[in-house]
């Protein structure tokens, strides 16, 4: 099992979800985050006071999938999230030791 974490542009969320749905991925967690990588922030001005805002709003998706599907899923995800500009985000893949379905104690990939 692998965990896929993707940090993407907020406005790409809908496209990514649709792309993943068409290849049969329907479980994920999504949250609004703030952060930055190489992308520069922006300037905001309140009554003449300038603020450099470096932490930019992003959306983070997280899903745990069977190892065999990682390649296919990350490709679809990246394709849907890509606009070709700086700030498109990143995908991280990591190993998962165990998965347990709380309802009936199922374990392993069947619990996904």
């Amino acid at each position: 099992m692998k965990k896929i974490e993707a940090i993407i542009q907020p406005h790409k969320l809908q496209e990514v979800r649709e792309a993943l749905k068409t290849i049969g991925v329907d479980g994920m967690s999504v949250w609004e985050i703030r952060g930055h990588g190489r992308q520069k922030g922006h300037k905001e001005i309140y009554r003449g006071q300038e603020y450099q805002v470096d932490l930019i709003p992003k959306v983070k998706l997280e899903m745990v999938v069977p190892s065999s599907r990682v390649d296919e899923i990350t490709r679809a995800l990246a394709a849907a999230a890509r606009s070709g500009t700086i700030g498109d985000g990143k995908i991280f893949v990591s190993d998962i030791g165990e998965a347990i379905r709380i309802r009936n104690d199922e374990r392993g990939e069947t619990a996904l």
């Binding site: 905001e44 001005i45 309140y46 009554r47 003449g48 006071q49 603020y51 805002v53």
Partner: protein, 467 residues
Amino acid sequence: MNPPRMRSLKLLAFGLLTSVAAFAQAASEAAKGTDLAKSIDDLKKAVASAQMSGDNAWMLTSAALVLMMTAPGLALFYGGLVRRKNVLGTMMHSFILMALVSVIWALVGYSLAFGEGSAFLGDLRYAFLYGVGAEPNPDYAGTIPQQTYMIYQLMFAIITPALISGAFAERIKFTGMLLFSTLWLFVVYLPMAHMVWGKGGFFNGTLGGKFPAWDFAGGTVVHITSGVSALICALYLGKREGYPKEPMRPHSVVLSVIGAGLLWVGWFGFNGGSAVSAGSLATSAFVATHLATASATLGWMVMEWMIAGKPSVLGAISGAVAGLVAITPASGFVKPMPAMIIGVAAGVVCYLMVSKVKQKFGYDDALDAFGVHGIGGTLGAILTGVFATREVNDLRMGKAMGLIDGDANQVVNQLIAVAFSWALAIVGTIVILKIVDFITGVRASKQDESEGLDLSMHGEEGYNFEA
């Protein structure tokens, strides 16, 4: 024709018939040589009672509108501008004054402001609201119960100290704030209100003032006193921890927009109600207020657009408040076009004040109570002397009211009143801050400040994630 209108027409017809009948009856009585004088007397009473109903309805409405300016108006306006950890504390600074000032006002405040007393302070004739009932007080308002006048004036006493809270936001101790506001009311507000509006007051324009100054709804009494005191508070308390290095962006301009909208609407009661009647003067003040505010909004927006590059929403609403402030003293004395000039001037000057001058001097007037109220109020008070005209408000029985109207001297009187209110606010506030600092302390501890006033002072949070 819809049914309600039909009904009102029927009512009108009925009213006409009965009054004609009454008149006919009165006439026949007169013909019989019976009590004509009594009929006329009854008629006079009926007319007076009708006028009182009309005026009283508007004045009670105005009182409610002015209360609405403090909360939710100012509470939202200021609340949105602070960081989220201080939103409740900031709203409380406005809300609690609706309670605290009301009690003080009923006990002695109204009397010290509006009792005859000396030229500088009222006496205790109305203490505990003694004698303040259904009878009008002809010195102030001959057509409404004095109790209405009292409650209307109370709403001004509530919002004035609340305005100051913009300067010490995010770093004042709650006990210190309560004590400060109480003392400030006695030392600055009540004397100033008496001098400008009270019978025999030093600057009173109609009731025997030595230097009659025009202040229709509180340019000196409300905005200069609060704005200048705000500057003193900002200087005395010092900057917020981390200012200006740490980002202190408003946590929700959305709240501030709602607040500014409520302030704009409430201000019709503030200025329109200051006519203390429901006649054409109230209309004139209402119109002047609205047009000045509209012009000030545009003035600020255009300035900011040209200088900073973008027309911010915070800029637009700040411009509106600046316009409302500046037109306050002038609203019952000027025609619509001068009102718009006052508005534009306020928008431009206050924008430069908060975005350029403040940065230059580096004081931390957190929410710009001085830049908007102190400066806008001063500008408005002076321009009142320039644009006041007898065509709007003929207080001098046909003689000129202001500079353009033909009396240059009035500008001098306005300047004297302005200088005096600045001086009283500066000296009074310094003394009070020293006293409060000695008794309870004024500034929150470093730890309380960094934790946020919501949690450290009130044990609550404005936005609870789990709830």
